[in-house]
Amino acid sequence: MATIVAEATGQAILHEEHEQSFLRKYIFSTDHKVIAIQFLIYTLFFLMIGGLLAMLMRYQIAWPARGELPLGGIFPESMVASGYILPEFYNALVTMHGSVMVFLAIMPMLVGVWANYLIPLQLGTHDMAFPRLNMLSFWAMVPAGILTLASFFVVGGAAGAGWTLYAPLSARPDLTGVGLGQILWLVALVFIGLSSILGSVNYITTTINMRAPGMTWMRMPLTIWSLFITAILALLAMPVLSAAGIMLIFDQTIGTSFFLPEGGGQPLLWQHLFWFFGHPEVYILILPAMGFTSEILSVGSRKPVFGYKAMVLALVSIAFLGFIVWGHHMFQSGMNPMLGLTFTVSTLFIAVPSAIKTFNWMGTMWRGNLQLHSAMLFAIGFVAMFAIGGLSGVFMASTPVDIYIHDTYFIVAHIHYVLFGGSLFALFGAIYFWYPKMFGRMMNETMGKIHFWLTFVFFNLVFFPMHGVGMVGMMRRIYDSTGYAHLQGIEDTNAIITWAAFGLFASGFLFAFNFFWSLKKGRKAGANPWNATTLEWQTPSPPKHGNWEEVPVVYHGPHEYSHPDVEDKDWLAQNERPDVVSPAAGSH
């Protein structure tokens, strides 16, 4: 708040901050592009950490009796003893895998990286509305990351009550054996909330008020639309999580009992608060991905996005509906069945705009001149994987079905089809796509394609069988499933899944290698390597501090590919003067 006021006092942020010190230029920078790259490095690091945690989990699931893990020196004896992952540590692994992936990897990568990078560039502004606030939103993530990592090494280990933090498990140290670790994670969560709220204020304000002349709402690229709607969701949902998280911290530390029945509190209240945040959160995690996909598919098919208006309407209605479906996570919680029914209905409704988007993506590709580069492959992969995840969502939305599959690996399959197959595929696509703009060089295509196919194959090998394992009744978050009569016979499937998971993790390193290798060795990219229309491609790669010599003027919609009136090329940049190109082209 203070910063908004500070920036309101007339100390306008000047763009001629030439000759900055190293510190101001790369560390405490207010340049949205530098902040985006900081976020990118941060989130890729945590993506790797989250992945490592998952590998440990998969090892335990496949070979619970084997031991042999050389982790003794790294983690304390109370976590890993003589090569065995202990149950408490397994709890921490599931919890922190989910938490790290959602809050420190995917969410800041979708929003922190791309909203920061693309909003000013695609809207044609010099920077964000509040550059210092923007810097703060990155630096608030730093204590969050440190606390998270530190929580693994404190007495009792890292949080172990699941990423959903259900009380009373999360509120009473005696139930999980985790005290400080849980508190550290909750404090980290408050920092993450702060970062995300500050960021959202920036993204929303910039989008509302700083668009380049001629950049009307209906000329905004779909990426911007989706990031804008996402920011609204984060703005309204994160504070509720922060409030709930703070109450949970109080339950842990100063003896309140908001969520503890023995003190009169209500565990169910936690679930309502968490999911009131939680479902909008899952849309925070997918809407930007939908935006990137729309953009990449359109560029890669050399066609305008099919049904641009419908896409925008679908985004808006998803955002609205997203706030009234949270109860579909609570069918089993003992809430009133009538309430369950309304949540079923509202959830089924939300599948409609999701389906509209899916069909529009196919419409965009239909008879397009497909350019199957890595970014495009990942975008197409996104559509396919999201369709599977969305469909399993529809199953779960109906209460009678969900009672059967709730808390099984079926849910794990669903969330990974939407979050990995969905969000992360789109993120890989986005990185391949905008890397040349960020760093001035292309990523290596061969490595990119191999990365895609490895990821695609291993991903499906890992997560598709989980539907089946879940239907058989394997509980999610289970430490050792071999002792249950009804789970005999799935050991081999679990071992295959684990091997595939190792492959999936390993293929991430190909990506990482490509990423760093291309920084130095990648083919030099011109300003517009994809022949794309949106504004960011009409400025040098990488854009200079301040982005534009002069703010561009926008004359056209965002995705004018294969425009019939343009003769010498198959695209029409948003800022191309109509009289220069052809008189008819601008009249849309």
């Binding site: 708040m1 008020n209 409030a243 003896g255 209240l269 703010v551 561009p552």
Partner: protein, 204 residues
């Protein structure tokens, strides 16, 4: 790069409101949700409570808080006056009213601290000594909601103090009112939240 005026069409460029003000409105939306989370939980817990909720008057010192509420409302008035003075370029008015708002806010905080100390040290709760956040749901919700409000007042007072110092340096004037207006928005919001909290925590 094209930069001439658009051919005949009016370029759309945001709202007719300056960016900082939009930013503050947006930020306040998120603040609304934060307090909605706390207040909503309070409502759920209070109506779900097995035993009857404590009567505010027995535990809390309502008269002194009513006086405190009055102070905060006055501070909103002086805030409006400060903005009006800024618009009119009335340097003396800016100083007086900003200082007044700061002092009123600070007094509010002082009274709240006094109230907390009294409750924790001298009030009794269900037979035991001291009314703390651990004193049942009643204590938990009371201290959480009023505490977070107090924290917001504290932030406001810090910004106000800083704006006041700038007033003495002649920073504000008819051509430089935005900071005061934006700070005012925040301050009125904090005030409004208090009126809601006072009503539901102290009165009903």
């Amino acid at each position: 790069m094209a930069h001439a005026a658009t051919a005949g069409r009016v370029p759309e460029r945001g709202l007719d409101v300056y960016t900082q003000k939009v930013g503050m409105w947006v930020f306040l939306c998120s603040e609304v949700m934060f307090f909605a989370g706390l207040i909503g939980s309070y409502v759920v817990l209070r109506f779900g409570a097995a035993d009857t909720w404590a009567v505010p008057n027995e535990v809390l010192n309502v008269p002194i808080t009513a006086f405190n509420t009055f102070l905060l409302i006055c501070s909103s008035v002086t805030m409006v006056k400060a903005f009006a003075a800024a618009q009119a370029g009335d340097q003396r008015g800016i100083k007086v009213y900003l200082l007044g708002t700061t002092l009123l806010g600070a007094t509010f905080l002082g009274v709240q601290v006094y109230e907390y100390v009294e409750l924790v040290l001298h009030q009794s709760w269900q037979g035991s000594h001291g009314f703390t956040p651990a004193a049942g749901l009643y204590g938990a919700t009371f201290f959480t909601m009023t505490g977070f409000h107090g924290f917001h007042v504290l932030l406001g007072v810090i910004c106000l103090a800083w704006a006041t110092i700038r007033a003495w340096r002649g920073h504000w004037g008819a051509d430089n009112t935005h900071g005061i207006e934006v700070l005012g928005l925040y301050w009125h919001f904090v005030d409004l939240v208090w009126i809601i909290l006072f009503t539901i925590v102290y009165l009903i």
